[in-house]
Symmetry: C4
Subunit: 202 residues, 4 copies
Amino acid sequence: MEDLGTARMETFSDGVFAIAATLLVLEIGVGTGADQHLGRALVDLWPSYLAYATSFLTIGIIWVNHHECMACMARVDRTMLFINIVFLMVVAFIPFPTKLVADHLQNQGEHAAVYAYDLTLLAMSVLYNVWWRYARHGRRLIAEYVPQSKLDAISRAFDPGIVLYLVVLAIAFVNPLVSVILTLILAAFYVPAGALFYRATG
Amino acid sequence: MEDLGTARMETFSDGVFAIAATLLVLEIGVGTGADQHLGRALVDLWPSYLAYATSFLTIGIIWVNHHECMACMARVDRTMLFINIVFLMVVAFIPFPTKLVADHLQNQGEHAAVYAYDLTLLAMSVLYNVWWRYARHGRRLIAEYVPQSKLDAISRAFDPGIVLYLVVLAIAFVNPLVSVILTLILAAFYVPAGALFYRATG
Amino acid sequence: MEDLGTARMETFSDGVFAIAATLLVLEIGVGTGADQHLGRALVDLWPSYLAYATSFLTIGIIWVNHHECMACMARVDRTMLFINIVFLMVVAFIPFPTKLVADHLQNQGEHAAVYAYDLTLLAMSVLYNVWWRYARHGRRLIAEYVPQSKLDAISRAFDPGIVLYLVVLAIAFVNPLVSVILTLILAAFYVPAGALFYRATG
Amino acid sequence: MEDLGTARMETFSDGVFAIAATLLVLEIGVGTGADQHLGRALVDLWPSYLAYATSFLTIGIIWVNHHECMACMARVDRTMLFINIVFLMVVAFIPFPTKLVADHLQNQGEHAAVYAYDLTLLAMSVLYNVWWRYARHGRRLIAEYVPQSKLDAISRAFDPGIVLYLVVLAIAFVNPLVSVILTLILAAFYVPAGALFYRATG
């Protein structure tokens, strides 16, 4: 069976990414009793805004990396399509634990919320590694013009992900707040990280 | 009237597939009274997680097959666009009975939930067969470079679908749980099946 | 200012069409008290299924026509983008009055529901005519290879739309049920109509 | 690290734009007690229709400008992808304060609602300027065939945006209604403005 082009996997993925990123805006709402003190009610909604922004930006960062890695691929195969679907299933789940953390941090249920959040991001990280390794292995899906050094740079950027997310999860047992902050730093780290690694390797 | 390219039918289909796949994540939520025992509440949500995962993966498998079959087509016509719309209408309905089964299996209402689920997948299977046969008949929409052996292999993979879904539906009258498990096995079977058939023929 | 290609107007439109078509599946749900008589509750939901199917198929038919007309265009301009946005705004509104009719037909509020439905489809029809006339006028956005006879055939198919929707709206004052049935026939008429007209003109 | 094509940034953006534009249709609904006076209930929903239309058209106008500016670009880079994500995050937020204004204007909570609305549009305007300046700076992402005069015309059209939105926000302290009307005029102004400026510069 011959391989397929990457276009439709990108279209479907972009659809899921777009829905996942915007999902938490649906959760932002003021109750009907808030008319008298709407200003106050809007300020009190800050955990919802924070959840929306964190979720949108986290999923946005994942999308950028997904995009950049796919730009190295010339084709996809059936196995890749399935790995990608499982990966997207976890990505579209991210808004749920993100909202849990925003609602419960520094409050009752804090530990459970942070575990759910860290586990989801760990699962995402594992699947992203599987996804990229599958594409990269023996340059299975990689376009000819992509230099090996670029593939190595990308792998170097993503390889520590799983271990770091495991550490962050372990920290959640001791201090949920620190764990959440480290998770956000980890996500933010992927913004410049890729670029830095690429530059280092040329 | 001349035929149309396949691009826009793919874009619209991918949009519906993406929405349908992510739909059940909207149904996952903990009540506001769960603050004290959030961990427990999150564990008790397992039927919702299961429904989300089953629905996402089932629709993902259908998307892969839709994608692979469309990769054989060089054009679509008006009739094909309408068949595709009716097919997508049933696909986007799948999350609803999936959630019903997750909520009612091994419980009150189990039979009705499983009938609804099996009937929906049967309807999907029938429409998928109509969709593929229409495209294939006399190579109506098929690209010239696609070998006949590939079309035969795809048909062999999908032909038993309707009968198998009918059997699964019949089993639901006797044992809903077994019927659901068989439905999932049937869906999972389509992951490697296509590839196996292709390999066998060429 | 130079003209733009049609690709992105198609992508955005397809996104809105896909969301609008699937929207009413969100409204299908059984109450939590239905566990004991789930089968019966599922049957009683028929107005929701009908609303979903009607809305999906109506929007699907509009999408096919939108698609076919855009296939005649080689470019779009700023004015066209804005007309298209107003048109899509009305299309994405269709699910709301469709649901109203499904919930109220043969019941209290029937007249109001049918007026809302017929007015929405009338607005859609008017905007679709504006949209097509703008593209067609002096072959403003039409690709060179499209024969004039095809443009004439499309116009002949859509020209009666506004008058027919006005008649259907007038009938709603006398008999809402008949009006709704005629609206559905009118929508269904657009499935083969285009093809028939095209064939007649070659 | 080499640059990426613009296709996937467009697909993802179009997905978010399509979701954001249609979002408020989800908020339109009549209560279940409205059966007896459905006509009246539908008329009383006018703030919801207004919010939907305003939100759809505002986001539509932003989309047209986003589209037209991207048509000048030949490539995007990692930084651009991130600026675009932050920008889209604010765009997908617009429906929320739009609904607030529709529900509270000329009523309790009016000031807070209008502040939220004006601040959101101000943030959008600031990010849009960052987005365009980044692309334009030293023709970083601009296609070679785009004349400098066109870039200047676009900048002239968008440069006053931030100041104007600041003025509109200041007016909200004195008169919320006037502020909202000016915001809508400002949005509407961007429909012909671009075209006018382009024409002036050729």
